[in-house]
Protein backbone atom coordinates (compact mmCIF):
# COMPACT_ATOMS: atom_id res chain seq x y z
CA UNK A 1 0.00 0.00 0.00
CA UNK A 2 1.59 3.25 -1.15
CA UNK A 3 0.26 6.13 0.85
CA UNK A 4 1.56 9.19 2.63
CA UNK A 5 0.48 8.02 6.06
CA UNK A 6 1.84 6.96 9.41
CA UNK A 7 -0.03 4.26 11.33
CA UNK A 8 -3.14 3.35 9.28
CA UNK A 9 -5.29 3.66 12.37
CA UNK A 10 -4.15 7.28 12.87
CA UNK A 11 -5.02 8.48 9.38
CA UNK A 12 -8.04 10.54 10.40
CA UNK A 13 -6.55 12.18 13.46
CA UNK A 14 -3.28 12.88 11.63
CA UNK A 15 -5.15 14.51 8.74
CA UNK A 16 -7.18 16.62 11.16
CA UNK A 17 -3.92 17.90 12.63
CA UNK A 18 -2.96 18.95 9.12
CA UNK A 19 -6.25 20.72 8.50
CA UNK A 20 -5.83 22.57 11.78
CA UNK A 21 -2.27 23.57 10.89
CA UNK A 22 -3.17 24.67 7.37
CA UNK A 23 -6.35 26.55 8.27
CA UNK A 24 -6.00 28.71 11.37
CA UNK A 25 -9.36 30.27 10.43
CA UNK A 26 -11.05 26.98 11.39
CA UNK A 27 -11.30 25.42 14.84
CA UNK A 28 -10.66 21.71 15.08
CA UNK A 29 -12.01 19.71 18.01
CA UNK A 30 -9.53 16.85 17.88
CA UNK A 31 -11.17 14.83 20.60
CA UNK A 32 -14.55 14.78 18.88
CA UNK A 33 -13.09 15.00 15.38
CA UNK A 34 -15.09 18.03 14.39
CA UNK A 35 -14.03 20.89 12.14
CA UNK A 36 -15.80 24.10 13.18
CA UNK A 37 -15.99 27.54 11.64
CA UNK A 38 -13.68 29.70 13.72
CA UNK A 39 -16.59 31.96 14.65
CA UNK A 40 -19.14 29.24 15.46
CA UNK A 41 -21.79 29.50 16.73
CA UNK A 42 -22.95 32.42 14.61
CA UNK A 43 -25.79 34.03 16.54
CA UNK A 44 -29.12 34.08 14.77
CA UNK A 45 -27.90 31.94 11.88
CA UNK A 46 -29.07 28.41 11.14
CA UNK A 47 -26.16 26.09 11.89
CA UNK A 48 -25.22 23.59 9.18
CA UNK A 49 -23.71 20.30 10.27
CA UNK A 50 -22.58 17.57 7.94
CA UNK A 51 -20.12 14.76 8.20
CA UNK A 52 -19.51 11.22 7.15
CA UNK A 53 -16.73 8.76 6.78
CA UNK A 54 -13.30 10.19 6.01
CA UNK A 55 -11.55 9.55 2.70
CA UNK A 56 -13.64 12.05 0.71
CA UNK A 57 -11.57 15.20 1.28
CA UNK A 58 -12.13 18.11 0.87
CA UNK A 59 -15.65 16.93 1.74
CA UNK A 60 -16.76 17.69 4.43
CA UNK A 61 -14.13 19.43 6.58
CA UNK A 62 -12.93 21.46 3.59
CA UNK A 63 -16.41 22.91 3.17
CA UNK A 64 -16.54 24.50 6.59
CA UNK A 65 -16.55 28.27 6.56
CA UNK A 66 -18.63 31.33 5.82
CA UNK A 67 -21.35 30.55 3.29
CA UNK A 68 -21.21 26.80 3.68
CA UNK A 69 -20.97 24.44 6.67
CA UNK A 70 -20.62 25.45 10.32
CA UNK A 71 -19.25 22.09 11.36
CA UNK A 72 -18.21 18.78 9.83
CA UNK A 73 -17.84 15.51 11.73
CA UNK A 74 -15.12 13.17 10.52
CA UNK A 75 -15.71 9.46 10.87
CA UNK A 76 -13.12 6.76 10.40
CA UNK A 77 -12.24 6.10 6.76
CA UNK A 78 -15.48 5.20 4.93
CA UNK A 79 -17.29 4.83 8.27
CA UNK A 80 -20.01 7.21 9.39
CA UNK A 81 -19.15 9.26 12.46
CA UNK A 82 -20.78 8.31 15.75
CA UNK A 83 -23.76 10.13 17.26
CA UNK A 84 -21.66 11.75 20.02
CA UNK A 85 -19.84 13.71 17.33
CA UNK A 86 -22.99 15.05 15.70
CA UNK A 87 -24.38 15.94 19.10
CA UNK A 88 -21.26 17.91 20.00
CA UNK A 89 -21.24 19.56 16.56
CA UNK A 90 -24.90 20.53 16.80
CA UNK A 91 -24.36 22.10 20.18
CA UNK A 92 -21.31 23.93 18.93
CA UNK A 93 -23.08 25.56 15.98
CA UNK A 94 -26.41 26.34 17.58
CA UNK A 95 -26.81 30.09 17.28
CA UNK A 96 -30.44 30.01 18.31
CA UNK A 97 -31.93 29.52 14.86
CA UNK A 98 -31.82 25.74 14.75
CA UNK A 99 -29.51 23.24 13.12
CA UNK A 100 -29.65 21.48 9.76
CA UNK A 101 -28.06 18.06 9.41
CA UNK A 102 -26.99 17.23 5.88
CA UNK A 103 -26.72 13.46 5.64
CA UNK A 104 -25.72 11.28 2.73
CA UNK A 105 -28.00 8.31 2.26
CA UNK A 106 -25.98 5.40 3.59
CA UNK A 107 -27.42 3.08 6.21
CA UNK A 108 -24.69 3.94 8.67
CA UNK A 109 -24.82 7.69 8.15
CA UNK A 110 -28.59 7.79 8.36
CA UNK A 111 -28.74 5.71 11.54
CA UNK A 112 -25.96 7.58 13.34
CA UNK A 113 -27.35 11.00 12.43
CA UNK A 114 -30.81 9.80 13.45
CA UNK A 115 -29.57 8.73 16.87
CA UNK A 116 -27.74 12.04 17.22
CA UNK A 117 -30.89 13.99 16.39
CA UNK A 118 -32.81 11.96 18.97
CA UNK A 119 -30.11 12.68 21.54
CA UNK A 120 -30.06 16.43 20.78
CA UNK A 121 -33.86 16.54 21.06
CA UNK A 122 -33.72 14.71 24.39
CA UNK A 123 -30.95 16.83 25.85
CA UNK A 124 -31.67 20.37 24.69
CA UNK A 125 -34.16 22.66 23.05
CA UNK A 126 -32.20 22.86 19.81
CA UNK A 127 -34.37 22.24 16.78
CA UNK A 128 -32.75 19.86 14.30
CA UNK A 129 -33.95 19.09 10.79
CA UNK A 130 -32.19 16.43 8.73
CA UNK A 131 -31.99 16.38 4.97
CA UNK A 132 -30.80 13.19 3.33
CA UNK A 133 -29.14 13.31 -0.11
CA UNK A 134 -29.71 10.43 -2.52
CA UNK A 135 -28.76 11.42 -6.05
CA UNK A 136 -26.90 8.42 -7.42
CA UNK A 137 -28.76 7.06 -10.44
CA UNK A 138 -26.45 4.05 -10.56
CA UNK A 139 -28.55 2.59 -7.78
CA UNK A 140 -32.07 1.41 -8.45
CA UNK A 141 -34.47 3.24 -6.21
CA UNK A 142 -37.05 1.22 -4.33
CA UNK A 143 -39.04 1.33 -1.14
CA UNK A 144 -37.66 -2.07 -0.20
CA UNK A 145 -33.97 -1.25 -0.42
CA UNK A 146 -31.50 1.12 1.17
CA UNK A 147 -32.30 3.48 -1.71
CA UNK A 148 -29.90 5.61 -3.67
CA UNK A 149 -26.55 6.75 -2.40
CA UNK A 150 -25.87 10.39 -1.64
CA UNK A 151 -22.97 11.51 -3.80
CA UNK A 152 -22.05 14.66 -5.77
CA UNK A 153 -25.20 16.59 -5.06
CA UNK A 154 -24.17 16.74 -1.40
CA UNK A 155 -21.51 19.33 -2.24
CA UNK A 156 -24.10 21.43 -4.05
CA UNK A 157 -26.59 21.10 -1.17
CA UNK A 158 -23.94 22.23 1.29
CA UNK A 159 -23.03 25.25 -0.85
CA UNK A 160 -26.56 26.36 -1.61
CA UNK A 161 -28.07 25.70 1.81
CA UNK A 162 -24.99 27.33 3.31
CA UNK A 163 -25.58 30.48 1.28
CA UNK A 164 -29.23 30.56 2.34
CA UNK A 165 -28.29 30.18 6.00
CA UNK A 166 -25.68 32.90 5.64
CA UNK A 167 -28.43 35.23 4.35
CA UNK A 168 -30.26 34.65 7.61
CA UNK A 169 -33.11 32.53 6.25
CA UNK A 170 -35.02 30.43 8.78
CA UNK A 171 -34.39 26.73 9.33
CA UNK A 172 -37.43 25.44 7.44
CA UNK A 173 -36.53 27.49 4.37
CA UNK A 174 -32.92 26.36 4.45
CA UNK A 175 -34.07 22.76 4.80
CA UNK A 176 -36.54 23.15 1.92
CA UNK A 177 -33.80 24.51 -0.29
CA UNK A 178 -31.55 21.61 0.61
CA UNK A 179 -34.33 19.19 -0.31
CA UNK A 180 -34.98 21.04 -3.54
CA UNK A 181 -31.34 20.79 -4.58
CA UNK A 182 -31.34 17.10 -3.79
CA UNK A 183 -34.57 16.57 -5.71
CA UNK A 184 -33.24 18.41 -8.76
CA UNK A 185 -29.83 16.79 -8.80
CA UNK A 186 -28.63 13.46 -10.18
CA UNK A 187 -25.21 11.82 -10.38
CA UNK A 188 -23.37 8.91 -11.93
CA UNK A 189 -19.79 7.80 -11.33
CA UNK A 190 -17.14 5.51 -12.78
CA UNK A 191 -13.80 4.12 -11.69
CA UNK A 192 -10.62 3.23 -13.54
CA UNK A 193 -9.08 1.71 -10.43
CA UNK A 194 -10.12 0.60 -6.99
CA UNK A 195 -9.10 2.53 -3.93
CA UNK A 196 -7.17 1.15 -0.99
CA UNK A 197 -8.61 1.56 2.50
CA UNK A 198 -5.57 2.20 4.75
CA UNK A 199 -6.67 -0.26 7.43
CA UNK A 200 -7.38 -2.94 4.82
CA UNK A 201 -4.00 -2.37 3.17
CA UNK A 202 -4.94 -3.62 -0.26
CA UNK A 203 -7.26 -2.55 -3.09
CA UNK A 204 -10.94 -3.13 -2.31
CA UNK A 205 -11.45 -4.76 -5.69
CA UNK A 206 -9.24 -5.98 -8.50
CA UNK A 207 -9.81 -4.41 -11.85
CA UNK A 208 -7.95 -5.74 -14.89
CA UNK A 209 -5.90 -3.25 -16.90
CA UNK A 210 -8.44 -3.20 -19.71
CA UNK A 211 -11.61 -2.87 -17.61
CA UNK A 212 -13.43 -0.14 -15.72
CA UNK A 213 -16.37 0.00 -13.31
CA UNK A 214 -19.47 1.99 -14.20
CA UNK A 215 -21.84 3.12 -11.47
CA UNK A 216 -19.48 3.29 -8.52
CA UNK A 217 -20.09 5.28 -5.37
CA UNK A 218 -17.49 6.96 -3.21
CA UNK A 219 -16.55 4.11 -0.88
CA UNK A 220 -14.77 1.77 -3.19
CA UNK A 221 -17.87 -0.35 -3.57
CA UNK A 222 -17.68 -2.08 -6.92
CA UNK A 223 -19.96 -0.49 -9.49
CA UNK A 224 -23.08 -1.75 -11.18
CA UNK A 225 -21.19 -3.28 -14.07
CA UNK A 226 -17.74 -3.85 -15.39
CA UNK A 227 -17.04 -2.90 -18.99
CA UNK A 228 -14.00 -2.62 -21.24
CA UNK A 229 -11.97 0.59 -21.02
CA UNK A 230 -13.32 3.20 -23.40
CA UNK A 231 -12.31 6.64 -24.66
CA UNK A 232 -13.33 9.64 -22.53
CA UNK A 233 -15.95 10.57 -25.09
CA UNK A 234 -17.75 7.25 -24.62
CA UNK A 235 -17.36 7.36 -20.86
CA UNK A 236 -19.00 10.78 -20.91
CA UNK A 237 -21.99 9.26 -22.70
CA UNK A 238 -22.15 6.37 -20.23
CA UNK A 239 -22.36 8.84 -17.35
CA UNK A 240 -24.59 11.48 -18.88
CA UNK A 241 -27.12 9.16 -20.47
CA UNK A 242 -28.52 7.54 -17.28
CA UNK A 243 -28.58 10.93 -15.55
CA UNK A 244 -30.63 12.46 -18.35
CA UNK A 245 -32.80 9.37 -18.44
CA UNK A 246 -33.74 9.82 -14.80
CA UNK A 247 -34.82 13.46 -14.84
CA UNK A 248 -35.57 15.96 -17.57
CA UNK A 249 -32.73 18.48 -17.58
CA UNK A 250 -33.62 20.25 -20.81
CA UNK A 251 -35.16 23.69 -20.98
CA UNK A 252 -35.57 26.01 -18.04
CA UNK A 253 -32.60 27.95 -16.82
CA UNK A 254 -30.19 25.16 -17.61
CA UNK A 255 -28.00 23.08 -15.34
CA UNK A 256 -25.06 23.29 -13.05
CA UNK A 257 -22.58 20.60 -14.13
CA UNK A 258 -20.26 19.23 -11.48
CA UNK A 259 -17.51 17.02 -12.80
CA UNK A 260 -15.84 15.47 -9.81
CA UNK A 261 -12.57 13.62 -9.56
CA UNK A 262 -12.37 10.62 -7.25
CA UNK A 263 -8.92 11.28 -5.84
CA UNK A 264 -6.38 9.58 -8.09
CA UNK A 265 -7.32 11.36 -11.30
CA UNK A 266 -5.44 14.55 -12.15
CA UNK A 267 -7.08 17.77 -13.27
CA UNK A 268 -5.78 17.37 -16.83
CA UNK A 269 -8.04 14.36 -17.27
CA UNK A 270 -10.95 16.03 -15.50
CA UNK A 271 -10.86 18.98 -17.89
CA UNK A 272 -10.62 16.57 -20.79
CA UNK A 273 -13.64 14.64 -19.50
CA UNK A 274 -15.49 17.88 -18.96
CA UNK A 275 -15.08 18.75 -22.63
CA UNK A 276 -16.75 15.49 -23.57
CA UNK A 277 -19.47 15.82 -20.92
CA UNK A 278 -20.24 19.32 -22.18
CA UNK A 279 -20.40 17.98 -25.73
CA UNK A 280 -22.75 15.16 -24.68
CA UNK A 281 -25.01 17.65 -22.90
CA UNK A 282 -25.09 19.98 -25.87
CA UNK A 283 -26.08 17.10 -28.11
CA UNK A 284 -29.01 16.41 -25.78
CA UNK A 285 -30.12 20.02 -25.69
CA UNK A 286 -29.06 20.65 -22.11
CA UNK A 287 -27.76 24.15 -21.44
CA UNK A 288 -24.85 24.60 -19.03
CA UNK A 289 -25.45 27.53 -16.69
CA UNK A 290 -22.57 26.91 -14.27
CA UNK A 291 -19.82 24.37 -13.92
CA UNK A 292 -17.48 23.02 -11.29
CA UNK A 293 -14.53 20.82 -12.23
CA UNK A 294 -12.21 19.29 -9.67
CA UNK A 295 -11.74 16.68 -6.98
CA UNK A 296 -14.21 17.79 -4.33
CA UNK A 297 -15.65 14.47 -3.13
CA UNK A 298 -13.02 11.83 -3.36
CA UNK A 299 -12.88 8.13 -2.73
CA UNK A 300 -9.37 7.90 -1.29
CA UNK A 301 -6.97 7.28 -4.17
CA UNK A 302 -9.52 5.91 -6.63
CA UNK A 303 -8.97 6.98 -10.24
CA UNK A 304 -12.23 7.95 -11.88
CA UNK A 305 -14.87 10.62 -11.92
CA UNK A 306 -18.52 11.37 -11.43
CA UNK A 307 -20.92 13.70 -13.17
CA UNK A 308 -23.60 15.56 -11.24
CA UNK A 309 -26.28 17.65 -12.92
CA UNK A 310 -28.42 20.10 -11.02
CA UNK A 311 -31.42 21.81 -12.58
CA UNK A 312 -31.10 25.45 -11.62
CA UNK A 313 -33.30 28.52 -11.50
CA UNK A 314 -32.62 32.12 -10.56
CA UNK A 315 -32.87 31.38 -6.85
CA UNK A 316 -30.42 28.48 -6.95
CA UNK A 317 -28.02 30.36 -9.22
CA UNK A 318 -28.03 33.33 -6.89
CA UNK A 319 -27.25 31.10 -3.94
CA UNK A 320 -24.59 29.20 -5.89
CA UNK A 321 -22.89 32.46 -6.88
CA UNK A 322 -23.10 33.86 -3.35
CA UNK A 323 -19.78 34.30 -1.54
CA UNK A 324 -18.19 31.27 0.06
CA UNK A 325 -14.97 31.09 2.02
CA UNK A 326 -13.89 27.55 2.82
CA UNK A 327 -10.68 25.63 2.14
CA UNK A 328 -12.38 23.70 -0.66
CA UNK A 329 -14.62 26.27 -2.32
CA UNK A 330 -13.90 29.95 -2.25
CA UNK A 331 -15.27 32.85 -4.23
CA UNK A 332 -17.00 36.18 -3.94
CA UNK A 333 -16.21 38.75 -1.29
Amino acid sequence: MKKLINDPSDVVSDALRGIAAAHPELRVDHENRIVFRGDAPVQGKVGLVSGGGSGHEPMHGGFVGAGMLDAACAGEVFTSPVPDQMVAASKGVDGGAGVLHIVKNYTGDVMNFEMAAEMVAAESGTEVISVVTDDDVAVQDSLYTAGRRGVGVTVLVEKIAGAAAEQGRPLTQVADLARKVNAQGRSMGMALTSCTVPAAGKPTFDLPDDQMEIGVGIHGEPGRRRVPLAPAREIAEMLVEPVLGDLDFTGGDGVLVFLNGLGGTPLLELYLMFADVAAALEKSGVRIARSLVGSYMTSLDMAGCSVTLLKVDDELLGLWDAPVRTPGLRWGT
Binding site: G53, E76, T79, A138, A146, A200, F205, E221, R224
Partner: protein
Amino acid sequence: MAEGLDVTALGAWVREFARLIADHQDELTRLDAAIGDADHGTNMHRGMSAVVAALDGTPPADPAALLKQVGMTLISKVGGASGPLYGTLFLRMAGAAGTGEMDAATYARALRAGLDGVVARGKAEPGDKTMVDALGPACDALDAGVAADESLAEALRRSAAAARQGRDTTVPMLARKGRASYLGERSIGHQDPGATSTALLLDAAVTALAGGDEG
Protein backbone atom coordinates in the same frame (compact mmCIF):
# COMPACT_ATOMS: atom_id res chain seq x y z
CA MET B 1 -20.93 -24.10 33.90
CA ALA B 2 -23.94 -22.94 35.90
CA GLU B 3 -27.32 -22.70 34.22
CA GLY B 4 -27.65 -19.05 35.27
CA LEU B 5 -25.69 -16.33 33.45
CA ASP B 6 -24.19 -13.79 35.78
CA VAL B 7 -22.22 -10.68 34.95
CA THR B 8 -18.96 -12.66 34.92
CA ALA B 9 -20.32 -15.14 32.40
CA LEU B 10 -21.65 -12.37 30.17
CA GLY B 11 -18.31 -10.59 30.43
CA ALA B 12 -16.60 -13.79 29.31
CA TRP B 13 -18.98 -13.97 26.34
CA VAL B 14 -18.25 -10.41 25.26
CA ARG B 15 -14.50 -10.92 25.65
CA GLU B 16 -14.65 -14.14 23.66
CA PHE B 17 -16.57 -12.27 20.94
CA ALA B 18 -13.84 -9.61 20.93
CA ARG B 19 -11.23 -12.35 20.56
CA LEU B 20 -13.06 -13.99 17.66
CA ILE B 21 -13.50 -10.61 15.96
CA ALA B 22 -9.77 -9.94 16.31
CA ASP B 23 -9.05 -13.37 14.82
CA HIS B 24 -11.48 -12.86 11.96
CA GLN B 25 -10.89 -9.17 11.36
CA ASP B 26 -9.22 -9.67 8.00
CA GLU B 27 -11.84 -12.14 6.84
CA LEU B 28 -14.66 -9.76 7.74
CA THR B 29 -12.97 -6.91 5.92
CA ARG B 30 -12.35 -9.11 2.91
CA LEU B 31 -16.03 -10.09 2.80
CA ASP B 32 -16.96 -6.42 3.07
CA ALA B 33 -14.52 -5.53 0.29
CA ALA B 34 -16.39 -7.84 -2.05
CA ILE B 35 -19.81 -6.26 -1.59
CA GLY B 36 -19.26 -3.24 0.63
CA ASP B 37 -16.51 -0.85 1.59
CA ALA B 38 -13.85 -3.01 3.18
CA ASP B 39 -14.22 -1.87 6.77
CA HIS B 40 -16.46 -4.30 8.66
CA GLY B 41 -13.55 -6.12 10.31
CA THR B 42 -11.86 -2.84 11.19
CA ASN B 43 -15.11 -1.40 12.55
CA MET B 44 -15.97 -4.39 14.73
CA HIS B 45 -12.41 -4.73 15.95
CA ARG B 46 -12.22 -1.07 16.92
CA GLY B 47 -15.55 -1.37 18.71
CA MET B 48 -14.85 -4.61 20.56
CA SER B 49 -11.39 -3.44 21.63
CA ALA B 50 -13.07 -0.40 23.16
CA VAL B 51 -15.66 -2.66 24.79
CA VAL B 52 -12.96 -4.77 26.41
CA ALA B 53 -11.08 -1.67 27.54
CA ALA B 54 -14.28 -0.30 29.08
CA LEU B 55 -14.97 -3.60 30.86
CA ASP B 56 -11.44 -3.58 32.22
CA GLY B 57 -11.84 0.02 33.34
CA THR B 58 -15.24 -0.04 35.00
CA PRO B 59 -16.42 -3.59 35.66
CA PRO B 60 -20.22 -3.38 35.55
CA ALA B 61 -22.25 -4.58 38.51
CA ASP B 62 -24.89 -6.73 36.86
CA PRO B 63 -25.97 -8.19 33.49
CA ALA B 64 -28.10 -5.20 32.50
CA ALA B 65 -25.31 -2.76 33.31
CA LEU B 66 -22.80 -4.83 31.37
CA LEU B 67 -24.96 -5.15 28.29
CA LYS B 68 -25.75 -1.45 28.39
CA GLN B 69 -22.09 -0.55 28.67
CA VAL B 70 -21.29 -2.75 25.69
CA GLY B 71 -24.09 -1.15 23.65
CA MET B 72 -23.14 2.40 24.54
CA THR B 73 -19.49 1.76 23.80
CA LEU B 74 -20.28 0.28 20.41
CA ILE B 75 -22.53 3.21 19.52
CA SER B 76 -19.92 5.75 20.46
CA LYS B 77 -16.90 3.98 18.98
CA VAL B 78 -17.92 2.14 15.83
CA GLY B 79 -19.99 4.34 13.54
CA GLY B 80 -21.04 3.02 10.16
CA ALA B 81 -23.99 0.63 9.97
CA SER B 82 -22.62 -1.91 12.41
CA GLY B 83 -22.16 0.60 15.25
CA PRO B 84 -25.81 1.54 15.71
CA LEU B 85 -26.98 -1.98 14.87
CA TYR B 86 -24.76 -3.92 17.26
CA GLY B 87 -25.12 -1.09 19.77
CA THR B 88 -28.88 -1.31 19.64
CA LEU B 89 -28.71 -5.10 19.89
CA PHE B 90 -26.86 -4.90 23.21
CA LEU B 91 -28.90 -1.95 24.54
CA ARG B 92 -32.14 -3.79 23.92
CA MET B 93 -30.72 -6.93 25.49
CA ALA B 94 -29.83 -4.82 28.52
CA GLY B 95 -33.45 -3.67 28.75
CA ALA B 96 -34.67 -7.25 28.82
CA ALA B 97 -31.93 -8.59 31.07
CA GLY B 98 -32.54 -7.23 34.53
CA THR B 99 -29.96 -7.29 37.30
CA GLY B 100 -30.15 -10.91 38.41
CA GLU B 101 -28.68 -14.05 36.83
CA MET B 102 -30.24 -14.87 33.47
CA ASP B 103 -31.58 -18.32 32.75
CA ALA B 104 -31.98 -19.73 29.25
CA ALA B 105 -35.46 -18.28 28.80
CA THR B 106 -34.39 -14.78 29.91
CA TYR B 107 -31.39 -14.97 27.64
CA ALA B 108 -33.59 -16.02 24.71
CA ARG B 109 -36.01 -13.16 25.40
CA ALA B 110 -33.15 -10.69 25.66
CA LEU B 111 -31.60 -11.78 22.39
CA ARG B 112 -34.97 -11.50 20.65
CA ALA B 113 -35.38 -8.01 22.07
CA GLY B 114 -32.00 -7.27 20.55
CA LEU B 115 -33.12 -8.63 17.21
CA ASP B 116 -36.26 -6.51 17.35
CA GLY B 117 -34.09 -3.47 18.05
CA VAL B 118 -31.88 -4.23 15.06
CA VAL B 119 -34.93 -4.58 12.84
CA ALA B 120 -36.49 -1.39 14.20
CA ARG B 121 -33.26 0.52 13.56
CA GLY B 122 -32.31 -0.98 10.23
CA LYS B 123 -35.66 -2.00 8.73
CA ALA B 124 -34.17 -5.14 7.27
CA GLU B 125 -36.38 -8.13 6.63
CA PRO B 126 -35.28 -11.76 6.56
CA GLY B 127 -33.73 -12.45 3.18
CA ASP B 128 -32.33 -8.94 2.73
CA LYS B 129 -28.79 -10.32 3.17
CA THR B 130 -27.90 -8.71 6.49
CA MET B 131 -26.97 -9.71 10.04
CA VAL B 132 -30.69 -10.27 10.59
CA ASP B 133 -30.37 -13.44 8.51
CA ALA B 134 -28.02 -14.88 11.13
CA LEU B 135 -29.58 -13.33 14.22
CA GLY B 136 -33.16 -14.29 13.37
CA PRO B 137 -32.50 -18.03 13.04
CA ALA B 138 -30.36 -17.88 16.19
CA CYS B 139 -33.28 -16.45 18.16
CA ASP B 140 -35.68 -19.02 16.74
CA ALA B 141 -33.30 -21.83 17.66
CA LEU B 142 -32.87 -20.48 21.18
CA ASP B 143 -36.63 -20.30 21.61
CA ALA B 144 -36.98 -23.84 20.34
CA GLY B 145 -34.30 -25.01 22.76
CA VAL B 146 -36.03 -23.29 25.66
CA ALA B 147 -39.39 -24.77 24.60
CA ALA B 148 -37.76 -28.21 24.47
CA ASP B 149 -36.33 -27.66 27.94
CA GLU B 150 -32.78 -28.01 26.69
CA SER B 151 -29.93 -27.00 28.94
CA LEU B 152 -28.50 -23.53 28.32
CA ALA B 153 -25.44 -25.14 26.81
CA GLU B 154 -27.54 -27.19 24.41
CA ALA B 155 -29.69 -24.22 23.45
CA LEU B 156 -26.63 -22.07 22.81
CA ARG B 157 -25.07 -24.72 20.61
CA ARG B 158 -28.29 -25.04 18.67
CA SER B 159 -28.53 -21.25 18.20
CA ALA B 160 -24.90 -20.93 17.12
CA ALA B 161 -25.44 -23.64 14.54
CA ALA B 162 -28.54 -21.85 13.33
CA ALA B 163 -26.64 -18.55 13.07
CA ARG B 164 -23.89 -20.19 11.03
CA GLN B 165 -26.47 -21.76 8.79
CA GLY B 166 -28.26 -18.40 8.47
CA ARG B 167 -24.94 -16.79 7.61
CA ASP B 168 -24.44 -19.35 4.85
CA THR B 169 -27.89 -18.67 3.41
CA THR B 170 -26.84 -15.09 2.75
CA VAL B 171 -24.49 -16.24 0.00
CA PRO B 172 -27.09 -16.68 -2.75
CA MET B 173 -29.24 -13.75 -1.59
CA LEU B 174 -29.67 -10.51 -3.52
CA ALA B 175 -28.92 -7.70 -1.06
CA ARG B 176 -31.70 -5.24 -0.40
CA LYS B 177 -30.24 -3.39 2.60
CA GLY B 178 -26.87 -1.88 3.43
CA ARG B 179 -24.12 -1.10 0.96
CA ALA B 180 -24.33 -4.47 -0.74
CA SER B 181 -27.73 -3.42 -2.10
CA TYR B 182 -25.97 -0.94 -4.43
CA LEU B 183 -24.48 -3.87 -6.28
CA GLY B 184 -27.82 -5.31 -7.34
CA GLU B 185 -27.32 -8.70 -9.00
CA ARG B 186 -23.59 -8.51 -8.35
CA SER B 187 -24.22 -9.01 -4.63
CA ILE B 188 -25.32 -12.59 -5.31
CA GLY B 189 -22.74 -15.24 -4.48
CA HIS B 190 -21.07 -13.36 -1.62
CA GLN B 191 -21.46 -13.97 2.09
CA ASP B 192 -22.70 -11.03 4.12
CA PRO B 193 -20.03 -9.65 6.47
CA GLY B 194 -22.53 -8.61 9.18
CA ALA B 195 -24.14 -12.04 9.20
CA THR B 196 -20.65 -13.47 9.51
CA SER B 197 -19.79 -11.39 12.56
CA THR B 198 -23.16 -12.24 14.07
CA ALA B 199 -22.41 -15.93 13.72
CA LEU B 200 -19.20 -15.25 15.64
CA LEU B 201 -21.24 -13.59 18.39
CA LEU B 202 -23.27 -16.76 18.83
CA ASP B 203 -20.16 -18.93 18.58
CA ALA B 204 -18.64 -16.88 21.37
CA ALA B 205 -21.64 -17.63 23.53
CA VAL B 206 -21.04 -21.35 23.14
CA THR B 207 -17.40 -21.11 24.10
CA ALA B 208 -17.86 -18.73 26.97
CA LEU B 209 -21.28 -19.59 28.33
CA ALA B 210 -21.82 -23.23 27.48
CA GLY B 211 -18.32 -24.10 28.56
CA GLY B 212 -17.87 -26.22 25.46
CA ASP B 213 -16.40 -25.96 22.01
CA GLU B 214 -18.27 -24.35 19.10
CA GLY B 215 -19.46 -27.76 17.98
